[in-house]
Subunit: 189 residues, 2 copies
DNA sequence: GTCTATACCGAGATAGAC
DNA sequence: GTCTATCTCGGTATAGAC
């Protein structure tokens, strides 16, 4: 039941992860998906439109993953940890954040899915830190929104360092250190 | 005294920051620097060689800046803070880290300056955290190397978020939150 | 919905005169 | 050391038949 259109989207998602937006050519998508040029331009106006569809599909998938793992723990701080603890190979890059620096993402239309994705995660994490403070799982001397920014940054920065240095553990090291620091903040437990 | 060669390097540094490596064409470098095609290929074997020279120049410059601001404070933790407190507009990207995700940086020759840069900073920061722990400026329950990874990640990740969301304050927010967390770790002061 | 052929452009580099 | 002319290739897309 995999339609040609879905095949194109799945292939684009994979290539966006591997090579980013600018370095992914329509020809490459066609070669790997097995589709022909005609199909491509029948289903999509062009590369940009396909990429947007791919990014939105990826965003949905990652947010589902986020919701799934953070649903389990009862303590709010443990929800944050559950997300940070997902194992990551930093050398492969974030499936979403991989493409942020591509020059073409100056285009607001292309950037929109990315912006929505990060703002959504930031909102969810902010809420978790708020609740964690409200339920006295941690000190409340730090603004929850800034803690959320730090959590996402540690993760994304870990991917940057991993790519630059070849250290696949960089992201897990960064999030690990952050959780250790946060834990010294706990009031109980 | 600005030689054509130096002009080319300076122009490339600027363009690497603005557009990255892949999206920067020789023609663009020539147009902006005022040099001609002949000069370019006389001084450099090609785009790659120029980019490497530009990255090494940028690396020297940023490491000098790092050394300068971290030299002032006496306390080791304050040295780290002095670096983290340098104001940054996250939407402009890191002058060095901006290019890590460009596909061409799969090439080890191109990646080498980047790798050296981050490993150098990581070493320096690790040493600062070691000394901070040794002099009892902070608790020693966390591995200094992992703290260094977190510090660099918070910074680089802040740039990623800044670019994706348009929030120029993202990097300063992330480093600010990290410093606040580290400060709850202090034993004296 | 899908195919092949074609068109246009800019990237990256070389040639050879000055 | 610098200039202009030229070359090749791949990216992105359109045309029109099937």
């Amino acid at each position: 039941m995999a339609t040609t259109r879905d095949n194109l989207i799945e292939t684009m998602k994979q290539l966006l992860w591997e090579r980013g937006y600018d370095a992914t050519s329509p020809n490459l998508v066609l070669e790997r998906s097995g589709a022909g040029k005609g199909s491509f331009y029948h289903h999509f106006k062009g590369k940009k439109e396909l990429a947007i569809a791919a990014m939105e599909s990826r965003s949905d998938e990652l947010i589902e993953e986020f919701d799934r793992v953070t649903a389990k723990p009862d303590l709010y701080l443990e929800k944050v940890y559950a997300y940070l603890r997902l194992p990551r190979d930093a050398t492969r890059g974030c499936r979403m954040g991989r493409i942020v620096q591509d020059p073409s993402l100056d285009d607001p239309l292309l950037n929109a899915p990315l912006e929505r994705y990060f703002k959504h995660l930031h909102e969810r994490l902010t809420w978790m830190f708020e609740e964690a403070q409200r339920h006295r799982e941690m000190m409340n001397i730090l603004p929850p929104g800034q803690l959320a920014t730090l959590a996402l940054s540690a993760l994304q920065g870990g991917f940057v360092l991993g790519r630059a240095t070849g250290e696949g553990a960089a992201a897990d090291d960064a999030t690990g250190a952050l959780m250790a620091l946060l834990s010294t903040q706990t009031l109980r437990g």
